[in-house]
């Protein structure tokens, strides 16, 4: 964005978390507080699911209860699993027409700018409010080409054969404690199928909004890009600021079949009372390409390590991750790349900024299995720490069982250099403004990968987060 706009933006938006407003809580139905087998079965029953889904939910619930909390990573000891509603259905039915969305909810999405963005630059939009998708639409021409873009429940109803083939296959429910929780109580999310050779030029977007207090959102997303197809999926998420905590626990599975490309962009901007514990993994087949563009700005604690499993020759996996941790935040993010085929390549770029006592962690795994000749991979992690209260960690794992590889890893940590600041200030920028420019420059690798409108939005967010960094 143009530098001159900085003041304007500040005046316009104020200094608060911009998405912290809330609407009255109106539920058509809500399960009782807390988690039990009864609640799990109830969710399945409301959704009239086939037996295999109910069974999987119950097995996952049991696994969740048995599995200990992870001993590594961010501090999750403060999550009160009993004080959360696991399913809440808002009023109204899913619709393709914004005018049919209940008034309050429509107002919320208007304020978030979703209908406007849809008109301008999106090929399809899904909007989830609490546990259910309230609005869903895909451009007619794409529908005609056979593109499927539904909420996950709709996908399960209308395309059970595709769902059954892939659901829980890329991320089994027992992958980790939180994938088990998601599998037990999932609701909403996106289901996307792109037919062979179809290129969806404009992004498909899903927007996830938590409105009520103490509610958990457990959306489930599955994207299948068939041979030679292309899709860019964008998700955004926000929530009101409450004094009690909410839980967001998603599972996202992607399959890029031979020659397909999936780009998955996330701009996570949950309010500072949301625990964000997400499992994301992609299978990349021969000649396929998967790119996770992952931006973590909000939430209280995020633990998220998007993964790519490279299954076929010449597949490519990429994770570009930025994290911004302010007061009371811990962004524990990273990437997991597993090379299971020869001639595969991967790249991880991670940039993080911590300030006001925030903590960022890069945690990564790069694995090359035996026999995967000619693998090339590069990992670069940079962290900026803006004040003495803040902190950062870097924990990359490299496991290599093959000799014909070329693996490089670099990480650096530092502060904003006095020289850079001095230079910009000598050019007439205020210190705050100069700092903002340096941080935006630092995150450029990420911002460049976003659709233009998102890049502008992200720059605004950085600007806001940077406010008060000086002095």
């Amino acid at each position: 964005m143009a530098q001159a706009d900085a003041e304007e933006v500040k005046n316009f938006l104020g200094t608060e978390y911009r998405y912290g407003f809330s609407d009255p809580e109106k539920f058509a139905f809500r399960t009782e507080k807390g988690l039990s087998e009864k609640v799990v079965r109830q969710i399945s029953k409301i959704k009239k699911e086939p037996e295999w889904v109910t069974d999987m939910r119950v097995r996952a619930y049991k696994h969740f209860m048995e599995r200990p909390m992870p001993k590594w990573g961010a501090d999750l000891s403060t999550i009160d699993f009993d004080n959360i509603y696991y399913y809440g259905k808002p009023e109204g039915e899913q619709t393709k027409d914004w005018d049919k969305v209940p008034q309050d909810i429509k107002k919320t999405f208007d304020r978030l700018g979703i209908p406007e963005a849809e008109k301008k630059f999106l090929a399809g939009v899904g909007a989830q409010y609490e546990s259910e998708v309230v609005y869903h639409n895909l451009r007619k021409d794409l529908e005609k080409k056979g593109v499927i873009f539904l909420d996950m429940d709709g996908g399960l109803r209308e395309h059970p054969e595709i769902v059954k083939k892939w659901f829980g296959k890329i991320i089994p429910f027992n992958d980790n404690k939180f994938s088990a929780l998601n599998t037990a109580v999932w609701s909403g999310g996106s289901f996307i199928y792109i037919p062979p050779g179809v290129r969806v030029d404009l992004p498909l977007q899903a927007y996830f909004r938590i409105n009520a207090k103490n509610i958990g959102q457990f959306e489930r997303t599955l994207i299948i890009a068939d041979k030679g197809s292309y899709v860019h999926y964008v998700e955004g998420c926000t929530a009101p600021v409450y004094s009690t905590d909410s839980l967001h626990c998603a599972v996202v599975e992607l399959a890029a079949l031979e020659g397909a490309t999936i780009r998955y962009t996330t701009i996570q901007n949950w309010s500072s009372n949301v625990y964000n514990l997400v499992t994301k993994r992609a299978f990349a087949y021969k000649n396929a390409r998967v790119e996770w563009i992952d931006g973590n700005l909000g939430s209280k604690i995020t633990m998220k390590y998007p993964g790519v499993v490279l299954l076929g020759e010449h597949a490519h996996g990429e994770v570009i991750s930025v994290a911004f941790a302010g007061k009371g935040q811990h962004q524990d993010a990273g990437a997991k790349i597993t090379h299971l085929a020869p001639n595969t390549t991967s790249q991880i770029i991670s940039k993080s900024v911590s300030k006001d006592g925030g903590r960022t962690t890069y945690r990564g795994l790069l694995r090359v299995a035996k026999g995967c000749k000619n693998v090339k991979s590069s990992v670069v992690c940079d962290a900026l720490i803006l004040d003495p209260k803040s902190a950062t960690d870097t924990v990359p794992y490299m496991e290599v069982e093959e000799k014909d590889v070329s693996i490089g890893h670099e990480a650096s940590v530092g502060r904003v250099s006095e020289e850079q600041l001095f230079y910009l200030m000598s050019r007439g920028y205020s210190e705050e403004h100069a700092l903002g420019m340096i941080v935006r420059g630092f995150m450029d690798a990420f911002v460049r990968e976003l659709p233009m409108e998102y890049a502008v939005e992200l720059n605004r967010l950085i600007e806001l987060n940077m406010e008060g960094s000086v002095g």
Binding site: W72, K370, G371, A383, I385, L386, D387, P388, S390, A391, T392, D393, T394, V395, P396, Y397, M398, E399, V400, E401, E402, K403, D404, V405, S406, I407, G408, H409, E410, A411, S412, V413, G414, R415
Partner: protein, 386 residues
């Protein structure tokens, strides 16, 4: 543990040892090294010789002490007042450290008085001669302004069975003192090694570690450097070369606890045959440790398809006015370099050898003593020739 008698410490370490379960690969620091099949009860005391060269009269007069640790505990109690064996290393670290705390029975004691700096290195040669357990403890105390180079060389004779080494090294580096600690091991494949080294650095102290690991069936070395005084510095330089079915497990942790300290870590390894390695390097910078400068770099050359390499370099940074970075590479020797040497008339095998020797030189060039550097190079040559 301070204030307890030596026997009291032993009893306490023994009870910790008995209480702790065998480490399992579920524990982070044992993830890539599975010792569950090891029956520690099998290792009764084994024979080893430690060669002690005498000290010159001049050094004796200056008050330098270089003796075996049992003698030192009896004769030099007053020097150990704050620096008894196992006052830096806690037996609670893990099961093997506790085992060491309970059973250590010989080793080395070095004391260098204030402002005494030795020109020639002190050297011990450790020679294992039979199966069983060996528990050596090395305690080095450097007073303010003291300076030494220390070399430990490890060998084992050919014998039946397995020798389990479980050693510890503690270094107290006083203000403005200096030590370079050299380790060189070329065991037969009848040795399994668990070693823990720990140093505490006072103001402006310099502790350098040089590690050369070539032999043994298995070798685990963990090095912890604690920067307690501003201006202190440490270098960790290591080379290792695994072949056959050797497994190496190395850890270097630098703990920047006060402002303005510096660390530089460089590990270079080669893996051939079915050898495997895990290297962990952690840079930890405390909140008050502004002005820290810390760099870590680790490299593995993988020569064969059966070899496996794990690398986990990590940063834990709580201060902002610091420079900290790490770099890691894994891969095979550069084809272009090989091609270049072959174009100069070398055969492929020989070209690879030259590249491997050159690869280690950033470490071996730092060895100031010709005879020791030769030993490193010879060990590398032997390994390269297979």
């Amino acid at each position: 543990m301070k204030g307890k008698s030596t026997e009291g410490k032993r009893t306490e370490a023994l009870s910790i040892f008995q209480k702790l379960p065998m480490p399992s690969p579920k524990e982070e620091s044992w993830k890539y090294t599975d010792v569950r099949d090891l029956n520690l009860q099998e290792f009764g005391p084994a024979a080893q010789k430690i060669e002690f060269p005498g000290l010159s009269d001049e050094l004796k007069e200056k008050g330098v002490i270089f003796t075996d640790i049992k003698t030192a505990v009896e004769k030099h109690k007053e020097l150990m007042e704050d620096h008894e064996p196992l006052s830096l290393i806690s037996p609670e670290e893990d099961k093997f450290t506790a085992m060491h705390g309970a059973f250590w029975n010989d080793g080395v004691f070095i004391y260098v008085p204030r402002n005494v700096s030795l020109k020639m290195p002190l050297r011990n040669i450790f020679r294992g001669s039979g199966s069983g357990g060996v528990f050596s403890h090395t305690l080095i105390i450097l007073e303010e302004g003291a300076g030494i180079d220390y070399i430990e060389e490890h060998y084992s004779e050919k014998f039946e069975g397995v020798c389990l080494r479980n050693d510890a090294v503690e270094i107290f580096a006083g203000p403005n003192s200096r030590i370079t600690f050299h380790n060189f091991q070329k065991w037969e494949d009848n040795v399994m090694n668990f070693t823990y080294w720990k140093a505490r650095l006072a103001k402006d102290a310099r502790v350098n570690w040089i590690l050369g690991q070539f032999g043994g069936k298995f070798s685990r070395v963990k090095i912890d450097s604690f920067f307690d005084g501003p201006g202190s510095e440490s270098k960790n330089l290591g080379v290792f070369y695994g072949s056959g079915e050797q497994h190496f497990d190395f850890t270097t942790n630098v703990h920047h606890l006060v402002p303005n300290t510096t660390a530089d870590i460089l590990m270079k390894g080669v893996l051939d045959g079915k050898a495997s390695s895990v290297y962990r390097g952690k840079i930890k910078i405390a909140k008050i440790a502004q002005g820290t400068n810390s760099y870590l770099s680790d490299h593995s050359l993988i020569l064969s398809n059966g070899a496996v390499s794990h690398s986990i370099p990590s940063l834990e940074i709580d201060a902002n006015d610091v420079k900290a970075s790490h770099g890691a590479t894994l891969g095979k020797p550069d084809e272009e370099e090989i091609f270049y040497l072959m174009s100069r008339g070398l055969r492929r095998k020989e070209a690879e050898r030259q590249i491997i020797l050159g690869y280690f030189s950033p470490v071996t060039d730092n060895i100031m003593f010709d005879d020791l550097r030769e030993k490193f190079n010879e060990a590398l040559h032997d390994k390269v020739r297979g």
